[in-house]
């Protein structure tokens, strides 16, 4: 490789009609780096990737690979020396596994002996013994095996640079996880430069040396995973991380996890009214507030059963809630309190002691699950 930077994108813009898919981005990718472009769908990450192997031509700007402007290189020659993996795999159904893996070396006109040896070596390395798999057709393999072959096909020509466009997006979580590990290991062993596109933040964090966070055609942040997690450049990055990774769960606030608009009553209500309201909502207690919405206590169905007289107001039956938390507090502390108190829920109050919502056990489990495994994209 000529310079330290194997790929340089300079003032790259891609316009489709009036809309800008990629808006004046600059990016330097170092030799041997694993760079992950991450963002929501439509943020321009795939367009950026495809401009590197000229499947898409930029409207303006310049891309250098190893110091050479790629516009001066024949696109076919360029692509033969860049590995390319797509989400739908795209193994050729009319070719055997071996033929698929050998495609690029054949295009590069390697001698047969050399490309055969390379293909068999790659198959062994990926744990797909050639005596079993070489003569099979893609349709005879599972999705995970197919994508393994897709990765091998990209590596067979020994390219210094490999582009991967959401390669594991269509796989189940377990297969995805093991393929991520394998690609990570390949990167370490082969010392190639990888540019990887994903919308999955946890995948980005796992794979990347450097994460390039994109939004609406622009680069929002370029940083190693730890730095992006610790210091997200803006709220959008922060919320994207929040949706996709566990490491941010202690930054969730009570407001993020509470259920707003709980059922409330005022203290001058009568017991029967309260019971029918509880019945209607399928709950066994209500929050009592004053006319301004400030918290006064709670009223439970047991308290009414035990000592309530029909027609009387609930005034004398109001209890202190098991616990209250401030709406601005951290979700983690709220969950700790909830776990410690054995209560069914905590009442969330704002600065003026007005009831803002409740945190239930179900709500807690839900948001913890989401933090752990991530919601879907978006």
């Amino acid at each position: 490789m000529g310079g330290t930077y194997v790929v340089s994108l300079r003032n790259i813009t891609k316009r489709y009609g009036a809309s800008e898919a990629v808006n004046n981005i600059n990016l330097e990718i170092r030799d041997g780096q694993f760079v992950v472009l991450v963002g929501t769908s439509g943020c321009g990450k795939t367009t950026t990737l495809k401009m590197i192997n000229r499947l898409i031509e930029p409207t303006s700007g310049q891309i250098l690979i190893a110091g050479k402007d790629i516009r001066t290189v024949n696109p076919v020659e360029l692509r033969k020396n860049i590995g390319y993996v797509i989400q739908q795999v795209g193994l050729f159904p009319n070719m055997t596994i071996l033929e698929n893996v050998e495609t690029v070396p054949k295009l590069l006109k390697w001698p047969k002996e050399k490309y055969r040896r390379k293909a068999l070596e790659l198959l062994e390395m990926a744990g797909l013994p050639s005596d079993v798999y070489a003569e099979k057709y893609p349709s005879e393999l599972s999705g995970g095996q197919q994508q393994r072959i897709g990765v091998l096909r990209a590596l067979a020509g020994d390219p210094p640079l490999v582009l991967m466009d959401e390669p594991f997006g269509a796989l189940d979580p377990i297969t995805r996880d093991s393929l991520q590990d394998e690609v990570k290991k390949l990167h370490k062993d082969l010392k190639k430069t990888f540019v990887f596109v994903t919308h999955d933040m946890s995948e980005a964090v796992k794979m990347a040396d450097v994460i390039v966070f994109m939004d609406q055609g622009s680069i929002v942040q370029i940083a190693p995973p730890e730095e992006i997690l610790e210091h997200p450049a803006n709220d959008f990055v922060r919320s994207f991380i929040g949706m996709h990774t566990a490491s941010d769960s202690n930054r969730l606030s009570v407001a993020d996890v509470m259920r707003a608009n709980p059922a409330t009553v005022t203290r001058d209500r009568r017991t029967l009214e309260c019971i029918s309201l509880m019945n209607a909502k399928g709950i066994d207690s209500l929050i009592v507030t004053d006319e301004n919405g400030a918290l006064e206590g709670i009223i439970t169905i047991e308290a009414i059963r035990r000592s309530g007289k029909p027609g009387a107001t609930i005034d004398s039956l109001i209890q202190k809630p098991a616990g209250t938390v401030a709406v601005t507090g951290s979700a983690k502390e709220a969950f700790d309190t909830l776990t410690a108190t054995q209560a069914e829920y905590l009442v969330v109050v704002d600065e003026g002691n007005r009831v803002a919502g409740i945190i239930t056990r179900t709500g807690m489990v839900k948001s913890m699950a989401q933090a752990l495994w991530g919601g879907d994209s978006q």
Partner: protein
């Protein structure tokens, strides 16, 4: 005279007619393939032209065979040549249509992967698109061959000879044996040709694509 007796005495004539019929059909099929396959490929590269060409070819296809033979006679005179030209005109459409749709229906992800790993347009065509579309193309050829063999019986009317000669002569002199001696081999020929092409189709379909049937 029974049919078998007829065959015994006249088998030489029947064999000659069969030979001419096979020659005429093979020649027409060969040219139809040579014209239609490249044309079909070309059409996939020119969407606008494709619509027009396929529409025109569709109209030609609806002109009755006899009318076409009449026109062929007017332009090219009597004999084998006008018949073969008319048969080619008929044989082109199914192959053209199937080549065009066969290649068009190759999933974009394959062609994109092929381009992405550095194939030239020609390589994408020969290594990916054509092999994947081949079962469909062969299905089109099968259709054409069967049509050509049956329509070739009409060609006798403008002096091309073949099994049609026996049928038309038999019809005009109420000779049932003669009609059968033309009709039975012609039918068997069509069935046999279809069967052979089915075998070819199986052979050209890679194992990995066996589940996907070429359209008929």
């Amino acid at each position: 005279m029974s049919f078998l007796e007829y065959l015994q005495t006249d088998w030489q004539a029947v064999m000659n007619a069969l030979l001419v019929h096979v020659q005429m059909s093979l020649l027409s099929t060969l040219f139809a393939v040579l014209i239609a396959v490249p044309a079909g490929i070309l059409l996939t590269r020119h969407e606008k032209a494709a619509k027009i060409v396929l529409a025109v070819a569709g109209v030609v296809q609806t002109i009755p065979g006899l009318v076409m033979l009449g026109i062929g006679l007017l332009i090219f005179g009597l004999g084998m040549l006008p018949s073969v030209i008319v048969l080619i005109a008929y044989g082109v459409l199914p192959i053209l249509q199937n080549t065009y749709t066969g290649i068009r229906e190759v999933d974009r992800l394959y062609t994109e992967a092929a381009r992405g790993i550095g194939m030239t347009n020609r390589q994408v065509l020969t290594k990916v698109e054509l092999p994947i579309a081949l079962p469909a193309i062969v299905a089109g050829i099968r259709l054409s061959v069967v049509y050509i063999i049956s329509w070739a019986t009409l060609a006798a009317l403008i002096g091309a000879g073949g099994l049609g000669d026996l049928i038309w002569t038999g019809l005009s002199c109420y000779d049932t044996n003669m009609i059968l001696a033309g009709a039975i081999p012609a039918s068997l020929l069509a069935i046999l040709a279809g069967f052979l092409i089915d075998l070819v189709q199986k052979a050209v379909t890679p194992r990995g694509m066996k589940t996907k049937k070429g359209e008929e």
